[in-house]
Every structure is written in structure tokens, then in C-alpha cells.
């Protein structure tokens, strides 16, 4: 690449601009959290002021801790449930062909398109019918329902990338389908980062899903999604 685009001033200026646009808001918010109400409204104290921890003191109380606990429980519960359901489903959708699969994928895509309020109106009734309104479990179930299609779509390419030959070798050796999934296919997807681009920072699932098919560096000629 020509010198101008390599670490040139354009790149430097661009990076600086990004740092401002993404860094300054956080700095501002932290600074504001250290101000009293009066200081916030005082134009003179916008950039230079006496910081105070009073806001943090008044916010950290039992309610906050209860909220943190709720968030932790709901987040972990949702993650576990979603992965438990999405992983086998993604495997199935990577291996099975046919009309049912296409219908399933289309249904998933339609669910993804539905705006949030719409999904929740009827869900309210369903959860209400099971007495789950007002419980963490209810929220976990609702969150999982909303995240599951997306997760299946994201995980599927990993299973597509598992070579069938390896699985067939397992079948030939007498492994049941469950073992093939659990002990052959799944571990390979977990190691899938071998195929991820060099930089450690890009997210492997995104890149494998969005791989450009024409790149000659790829071993497989299948498009990933």
C-alpha cells in the first residue's frame, strides 16, 4: 500500500478523530459523575471544577446491588439457555437440507425483523399464563426467545466449516449421532479460531460469517453463510 495510507497522516488524523468521537463521551460522563448538580449547571465549572464522590455514594445502595444481582442472574441464565439450545440447532441446520430447513431459516429471519414491542405484546400473555411475570425466569425465557434466532444464525457457519469427512470417519467407527456432535463436531468449532484472521482482535464468528468468497487464501470454496 502506498506510503500515504500506511500509518500516514491520514491514518493518524482518522484515528485521532475516532478517539475523540468514542473517547470523549466517556470522559465527559465520568467528569459529570464527579460534579454536583450546581456544578453541572454552572457554565464556569464546565471544564475545571472540584470533583466529588457524593453521587457515587448516594447511588451505591441496596437497590443498586439488587439490580446488579438481577442483571448477573438474568445474563448468565440467558447465556446458558441460549447456548444450550442454539448449538445443537445450528449443527442441525448446518447438516440438514431441504424444504423444512429453508422454512425454518425463513421463520427465524422473520422473527428477527419483528420490532421489539411487537414480540413482547403476545409474549406477555404467554408468560402471564404461566405465572412467570415478575420473575427472573420469565425474563430469561423472554430474552432467550429473542436471542435464539440470531445465535443460531451466528453459530451455524462454525458447523458448516467442520469437514464432513471427519464426522463420517466417526460414523464409520461406530459413533452415535450424539457422540459425533458432542465429541467431534463441537470441539472442532471451539478450535475454529485457527481460521480467523491474523489480528487477535476481530471477532471470529463475524469474520467467518462475512468471509469474502473470492479470497484465494481460503482453503474451502464454500461461502460460509
Amino acid at each position: 500500500m502506498s506510503a500515504a495510507l500506511r500509518r500516514g497522516w491520514v491514518t493518524r488524523a482518522g484515528t485521532a478523530a475516532l478517539l475523540v468521537v468514542y473517547g470523549l463521551p466517556f470522559i465527559w460522563l465520568v467528569a459529570t459523575s464527579l460534579k454536583t448538580d450546581t456544578q453541572i449547571f454552572d457554565r464556569g465549572a464546565t471544564f475545571i471544577f472540584h470533583p466529588t464522590l457524593a453521587n457515587y455514594q448516594s447511588v451505591v445502595n441496596r437497590d443498586l446491588l439488587a439490580a446488579c444481582l438481577n442483571s448477573a442472574v438474568i445474563a448468565s441464565g440467558t447465556t446458558v439457555l441460549t447456548l444450550a439450545l442454539a448449538t445443537p440447532a445450528a449443527y442441525a441446520l448446518a447438516r440438514v437440507k431441504g424444504l423444512l430447513v429453508n422454512l425454518g431459516l425463513s421463520a427465524i429471519i422473520i422473527l428477527q425483523i419483528t420490532p421489539q414491542p411487537a414480540s413482547l405484546i403476545p409474549l406477555y400473555r404467554v408468560l402471564g399464563g404461566w405465572n412467570l411475570l415478575g420473575s427472573q425466569l420469565g425474563v430469561i425465557l423472554a430474552d432467550t426467545a429473542l436471542l435464539l434466532p440470531f445465535c443460531i444464525l451466528i453459530i451455524r457457519p462454525f458447523f458448516l466449516a467442520v469437514p464432513r469427512e471427519v464426522e463420517e470417519a466417526g460414523v464409520v467407527d461406530g459413533a452415535s449421532r450424539m457422540r459425533v456432535f458432542w465429541q467431534i463436531a463441537l470441539p472442532i468449532t471451539l478450535n475454529g479460531s485457527r481460521r480467523a484472521p491474523r489480528s487477535s482482535f476481530s471477532s471470529p464468528e463475524v469474520s467467518s460469517c462475512m468471509r469474502t468468497p473470492s479470497s484465494p487464501t481460503r482453503r474451502s470454496t464454500r461461502s460460509a453463510c
Binding site: 447511588v59 437497590d63 438474568i74 421489539q116 405465572n131
Partner: protein, 443 residues
């Protein structure tokens, strides 16, 4: 595209009633939305389980039975409910009262679902705006017969009684309403008094603005809180939901639009709920705010000695003004097996002077009873005087028309917000509002 796509918690934890003191608590805290419950699991099992009680009309200290009461008071506020319930238990010690917490926005849905299964609690303590839907779904039982023979019924203004089909269903004992708070330091410095009529308002604001202070803070959100704030101004010119007079609406909108244009009212108020309005006023450079009695406690805590403040009745207009009376009302459940005991509960708690003293002292609720306006507990707090005057002279039922005008209220709120933000001229907004109210509310 956002990593945390759905926010189910958001909807399922909405709580936007103006009779609650803090709105948008979870969003403002920013620490992630709260889950549906504030930690308590709901006891749907408690719904509808009443043992048989002594039959016969006379109820006395020997009456036994169970009374299920639904409420939505949080852990901080539930003590008030327990304290006034104790008044009932003192008189009827053999009745077992079960206080069941049901989150505010869930109460109507749960009640309607239970009614569909022909079940429900004996008593509701509920002050939200879905009462009309609940009534139509058969959730409530009328207390008209008890009310008519109630000795103290004349003590209650009309605005606290909700009637359906001309029968009494719900009654509020204490109310929350908006009034005019003022910063006395600013008023003295500028040399003005709280305006008493619409004519005086704009000129008072002009003087404050000339002195470099912010004249007025009020709620301009396009939500039910905005609608609450707009109602006194609209009705002061002669508006009502039954009769939406376009010129009345236009006059009110012209007034507030002028304040926004001249920066007497900060334009950001279109985003403020009542809590944000209070926070803005507390800073100390704002002369007036339209806000509620529930700020009495918070004001003493957050303002402290920063400046002297007081309350005054809202300025009145040429026509008869209405100010919404929020607060919790008591209702009897349609499927109660002990209506007599349910009425006794209502009578001993929120319809009694002792009960209302408890709510006054503990939660700042203004007693609606006329005969309490002169009690020392009320007169000794100057901040309360404005409110009791308003209750007596301008108190209006909330939700208006028994809750049947909800969609019309939304139209008013949106247009109120649009004239403050400048998206619409007062004339255009008045026309849209009138059309919208007529289209959406048919008495």
C-alpha cells in the same frame, strides 16, 4: 447490531403513573434495566382465596375471616400500608389481612386475567389509569350501597370518587396533585409574588427573566405526566374532555408557547418528567415550578438550606379550573366473598381521619376530607395549605371520565409537547388536539 439486542426487561417493568413519585427510575439509574420485580416474587396464589366468614350484615370484633388486599407499594413505602391496615386490625382483630404486592403496571393485567377465571382479591389499593378497562372486564364490585349509608360521605369532594354507571366504585382518601412551588429568594430579589391568575403569569415571568433567572420549570413530555401538567392550564380556559373547546386549547397553548419562545420555560422541558423538573428547580436558579406535594419530603432533603421555598395554588384562569387528583383509591373486588368486611377495611383505613393522618405523615398524601383541612397537622405545615385549597376548589377526578379518555389524554400530551418544542404553532396544535380528542373520546 447492538450486542445486547432485546430489552425485554424494559417493557415488562414499565411504571409510569404520575401518582408514583419517581418515574423512569430504572432508565435514569442507567445501571441496566431492572427485572420485572424489585426482588419480590409475586404471589398469584393469594388471588381469590377467601375462607367463609360469618354471614349476616353485622360485623364486629368477633368477626373472623380472611381479607386479601392487593397493593403496589415498594419496600420503602409498604410500611404506610401496614400502618393504616393496623387501624383495621385493631377494630377487627380476628380478620386475617393478607397484603399482597402486585407491581403497578401488572395490576390491571393480573386483575383482568383473574376476573376471567372468576377470581380476585377482596380489596384493591390502586391509583392507575386503567380503571376503565378493569371495570369493563368485571374486576370491581360497586360499593354504592355502603357508600350511601356512609356517615362521612359528605366530607369527600366529588373529584375523589370514581363512578361507573352512576354507582360509586372507587374512592380516594388522600390525593397527590400539582401546585406552584416557588423559590422565595428569587421572588424577593426580583420583587414579585406568585401569580394568582393567568393574566398575571406572563408579566411575572418577564420580570424574573429580566433579572437573569429562569422563570418556570414544568413537564413538557408527551406522556401522561405532560398531560397532568397541561390540564390546569387547559381547563382554566374552559377545556374538558367531554367538551374539547378549540379556542380554550388554543389560548392555553399560546400561553405556554410564548414562555418557551421567550425562554421563560427551558425548551429541554419537553424531555422532563416531574422528577427531572424537580431536579432542575432544586439547582436554585429557577423561580417557579409546577410540581406535586410528593416533593415536600425530597425538597427538605435536597434543598435543605440552600434557599427558602414555598408553595402556592396554581394560577387560575377565567373558567373553572381542574387539577388532577392522583393518589391511591380503594376498590372492592368483584369476586369477594366478604364485601362487608372489604367495606369495613376501606372505612377504617383510607376513608378515616386516623388513616389519612398516617398517610399524610408518612407519605405526604393530602387528606381529601374537608373536615381535615383545619387540623393542626395540616395547618402547621405551610407547604400543605396551597394543596388543600386546590383540593377543595379545583380537584378533578383522575383518570378523567373514569379512565375512558386515555387515548384523548395522549393526544393532548403530544400537542402540549409539540407547542413547547416549537414543532407546531398553537393554532395548529389546538386544532389537532381538538380533532384528536373528539376522535378518541366518545362519552
Amino acid at each position: 447490531m447492538s450486542a445486547a439486542e432485546p430489552d425485554a426487561e424494559l417493557f415488562l417493568s414499565l411504571d409510569r403513573s404520575v401518582s408514583r413519585r419517581q418515574v423512569l427510575k430504572s432508565a435514569a439509574a442507567g445501571a441496566g434495566t431492572l427485572a420485572l420485580s424489585s426482588g419480590m416474587t409475586s404471589l398469584l396464589a393469594a388471588c381469590g382465596g377467601n375462607q367463609a366468614t360469618t354471614t349476616g350484615t353485622a360485623i364486629g370484633p368477633d368477626t373472623t375471616g380472611t381479607l386479601t388486599v392487593w397493593h403496589y407499594s415498594s419496600q420503602q413505602d409498604v410500611k404506610t400500608v401496614q400502618d393504616y391496615t393496623a387501624l383495621f386490625t385493631k377494630k377487627y382483630p380476628k380478620v386475617d389481612v393478607k397484603l399482597v404486592y402486585v407491581e403497578f403496571s401488572e395490576t390491571p393485567k393480573r386483575a383482568i386475567a383473574a376476573a376471567a377465571a372468576k377470581q380476585g382479591p377482596d380489596v384493591f389499593i390502586y391509583g392507575g389509569n386503567e380503571v376503565n378497562a378493569m371495570y369493563k372486564a368485571g374486576v370491581f364490585k360497586s360499593v354504592d350501597s355502603y357508600w350511601q349509608s356512609f356517615a362521612d360521605k359528605a366530607q369527600f369532594p366529588d373529584g375523589v370518587i370514581t363512578r361507573f354507571n352512576n354507582k360509586v366504585y372507587g374512592v380516594k382518601g388522600y390525593v397527590n396533585l400539582t401546585g406552584l412551588w416557588y423559590n422565595k429568594n428569587i421572588l424577593d430579589a426580583v420583587g414579585v409574588q406568585p401569580p394568582r391568575s393567568f393574566d398575571e403569569v406572563t408579566s411575572t415571568f418577564a420580570k424574573v427573566a429580566a433579572a437573569g433567572k429562569v422563570p418556570i420549570a414544568l413537564t413538557g413530555q408527551p406522556t401522561d405526566q405532560g398531560d397532568w401538567t397541561a390540564f390546569p392550564w387547559l381547563t382554566g380556559y374552559g377545556f374538558s374532555y367531554k367538551n374539547p373547546d378549540q379556542s380554550a386549547i388554543e389560548q392555553a397553548f399560546t400561553l405556554v408557547n410564548e414562555w418557551a419562545r421567550k425562554s421563560y420555560l427551558p425548551k429541554e422541558s419537553v424531555q422532563w418528567g416531574q422528577a427531572e423538573t424537580f431536579n432542575r428547580w432544586v439547582v436554585g436558579d429557577v423561580a417557579f415550578m409546577e410540581n406535586g406535594n410528593w416533593n415536600i419530603g425530597p425538597a427538605s432533603r435536597t434543598v435543605g438550606g440552600k434557599f427558602t421555598y414555598g408553595t402556592a395554588p396554581l394560577p387560575t384562569g377565567p373558567k373553572s379550573q381542574g387539577i388532577f387528583l392522583g393518589g391511591e383509591a380503594l376498590w372492592t373486588g368483584a369476586f369477594t366473598k366478604v364485601p362487608g368486611i372489604a367495606w369495613a377495611y376501606m372505612q377504617e383505613t383510607l376513608l378515616s381521619k386516623e388513616g389519612l393522618l398516617i398517610t399524610l405523615q408518612e407519605s405526604g398524601g393530602i387528606p381529601a376530607r374537608h373536615d381535615m383541612a383545619n387540623l393542626t397537622q395540616v395547618t402547621s405545615n405551610p407547604l400543605l395549605t396551597a394543596y388543600t385549597t386546590e383540593v377543595k376548589e379545583h380537584g378533578a377526578e383522575y383518570p378523567p371520565e373514569g379512565g375512558a379518555a386515555i387515548a384523548a389524554q395522549a393526544v393532548i400530551a403530544q400537542n402540549w409537547s409539540a407547542v413547547i418544542g416549537g414543532q407546531k404553532t398553537p393554532a395548529q396544535a389546538a386544532k389537532d388536539a381538538t380533532d384528536g380528542v373528539k376522535a378518541n373520546y366518545k362519552p
